[in-house]
């Protein structure tokens, strides 16, 4: 670490390596050729046309979106109540409860997916979009709880006490005080919950069957055959969805009161 020259050079290179794969895939998606060469000799939208023009890819886009919306709705609502309970309740073993709720992102997805498949197959629910959404809510829940835990800590307890002492019910306090103040955090949590499901592969791989293949599942299946440029277009689309989520999240964070802003990630 001695010498001022080395670290900035290394950081520059590291940022390049971190971003290069993502940037290159986005550029390749606009390639005019049928093979992957960088930089592309000509640019076109043909691979996006191939993506959106193919009924099966469109079906996957639809499945992915529906599953992610269901997972997002369920995990955001349940995660909100759980985070509120963890922040405001006097119960013991809160750290233990939180660690339990984080297990779905710690335990290897392969194990979770196989166990879920074992259950799903018995009930004949393989390929059921609502069911996959529910299962995805399990892995989106930890994301929601982690984000809302920090957002909720910024809500002034005195405001809630004041409302309660003036005769408001707990439900009313939540609706009129907590939710409005925590709304930016709730929106962030919902966005990342959507993304967690939209990008999830392993659980979807086991549960989707032939009927409800999501975009990551279809990319997975295609990658076993050949690396074709249409995958670059689908990947660029998924990267764009991530980009939109990060942009909206950034805008939402700016809406927060200055006392609550100042966070980084």
């Amino acid at each position: 670490m001695n010498g001022r020259g080395f670290l900035p050079v290394y950081i520059g290179l590291a940022c390049l390596v971190l971003m290069a794969p993502i940037v290159i895939v986005c550029v390749l998606a606009f390639s005019g050729q049928g093979y992957l060469r960088f930089p592309p000799e000509s640019l076109s939208l043909r691979w996006f046309a191939a993506f959106f023009g193919d009924g099966r890819w469109r079906q996957s886009l639809w499945s992915s979106t529906m599953i992610a919306l269901i997972a997002c709705a369920i995990s955001t609502v349940l995660g909100f109540f759980a985070a509120y309970a963890l922040v405001r309740s006097d119960m013991r073993a809160k750290k233990m409860m939180l660690s339990f709720m984080l297990l779905p992102i710690i335990i290897p997805h392969v194990i979770t997916a196989i166990a879920m498949y074992f259950l799903t197959a018995r009930f004949g629910l393989v390929g059921n979009v609502v069911w996959i959404g529910l299962c995805h809510a399990v892995v989106a829940l930890p994301v929601v709880v982690l984000i809302l835990l920090s957002a909720m800590q910024a809500v002034d307890l005195n405001l809630e006490r004041a409302a309660l002492s003036l005769g408001a019910s707990r439900a009313r306090v939540l609706l009129r005080v907590v939710i409005p103040i925590a709304l930016p955090g709730i929106l962030s949590a919902a966005l990342f919950a959507f993304l967690a499901s939209f990008d999830e592969l392993i659980i979807a791989l086991f549960l989707s069957g032939a009927r409800a293949q999501t975009l990551p599942v279809r990319i997975w299946n295609s990658l076993h055959l050949e690396i074709e440029p249409v995958i670059a277009a689908v990947s660029a689309f998924l990267i764009a969805v991530t980009g939109v989520v990060l942009l909206v999240d950034g805008a939402v964070r700016r809406l927060r009161a200055p006392s609550m802003a100042g966070g980084a990630a």
């Binding site: 670490m1 001695n2 670290l7 290394y10 950081i11 590291a14 940022c15 971190l18 971003m19 794969p21 993502i22 290159i24 349940l78 109540f81 759980a82 509120y84 309970a85 405001r88 309740s89 006097d90 119960m91 750290k95 660690s99 709720m101 984080l102 297990l103 779905p104 710690i106 290897p108 997805h109 392969v110 194990i111 979770t112 196989i114 166990a115 259950l119 529910l134 399990v138 829940l141 982690l146 835990l149 707990r170 439900a171 939540l174 939209f198 990008d199 592969l201 990319i219 997975w220 990658l223 690396i227 670059a232 990947s235 998924l238 990267i239 991530t242 990060l246 966070g263 980084a264 990630a265």
Partner: protein, 280 residues
């Protein structure tokens, strides 16, 4: 929920109900359902046979070896980045954080695919090397352990950096300045003051990366060669290809136990609320 001043503890129940019904019950049911088909004696015998089979032993060695390498690579490469992040402000901070966050929230399958495009036989790196006249034959960068190492290190790097950064942010920079003031060189002050204070982040970051690495599936399955089988891949194959549910259950049980044991250590040494750079 409508009680007046009551404790809101019960509000945690819906989340627990979801996790119970779709996470705990499936796991318990899976293990009991698959493993109770035989008598306990036969079951133990079978478990020993599965876990001491050549495929399982090889996969366990590969898994631990790759997870260790990935932890080492992400730690060595990520430490200076986290350090820079903790030391900088303004646009520098924003740019570096951007370069970490964008890959972090990009789908694992997309990140794996992009490295396959780069590392393949006719991939972009081999194209560039040949165009520059550095190699005649394409270098074997993909479908081997090197490919897995690059892909997994890339995917897990943000976890390492954000965990290290969370620990480094709490280090008081005036301590290092004080060491300078007392005559310590930059290197000496770093090693004797800063680095020991960041060790907590090093342990947390290494644990979380190792925990996630031993259960990895997508990246090694796509970027590894035929002989590079990690334990999660063996479990998936047992279910999807050989339909050998008991083998899958025994290997899952072992992987689950290892994961939970390491997670318990992680729980002891770190604040789970800050997991993976949350709450930063």
């Amino acid at each position: 929920m409508s009680q007046r001043m009551g404790d809101p503890a019960l509000m945690i129940l819906p989340a627990f109900a979801l996790l119970g019904a779709l996470f705990v019950v499936p796991l318990v049911w899976f293990f009991i359902g698959v493993l109770s088909e035989e008598s306990p004696g036969e079951m133990i015998e079978r478990g020993v046979a599965v876990l001491s089979s050549r495929a399982a032993v090889t996969a366990l060695i590969t898994t631990n070896w790759i997870a260790l390498l990935v932890t080492g690579v992400t730690l060595l490469a990520g430490y200076p980045i986290a350090y820079y992040l903790a030391m900088s402000t303004g646009w520098r901070f924003a740019v570096v954080l951007f370069c970490i966050i964008v890959p972090y929230f990009t789908s694992v399958i997309v990140r794996t695919y992009s490295w396959m495009v780069l590392l393949g036989r006719n991939g972009l790196i081999n194209q560039a090397l040949r165009a520059a006249g550095l190699t005649d034959a394409p270098l074997p960068l993909l479908y081997n352990k090197f490919g897995i190492l690059i892909g997994m290190s890339y995917v897990l790097m943000p976890y390492m950096i954000l965990t290290l950064y969370a620990a480094m942010r709490g280090i008081d920079p005036s301590l290092v300045r004080a060491a300078h003031g007392l005559g310590a060189s930059r290197a000496y002050a770093f090693w004797k003051v800063y680095f020991p204070l960041s060790l907590h982040g090093v342990v947390s970051g290494s644990l979380i990366v190792f925990i996630l690495a031993i259960g990895f599936f997508i990246t090694p399955a796509l970027m590894g060669g035929p002989s590079d089988v990690m334990i999660a891949m063996l479990i998936e194959r047992a279910v999807e290809i050989t339909l050998d549910w008991p083998s899958a259950a025994f290997m899952s049980l072992l992987l689950l136990a290892a994961t939970l044991l390491l997670y318990a250590i992680y729980y002891k040494v770190t604040d789970v609320r800050r997991m993976m750079g949350a709450a930063t």
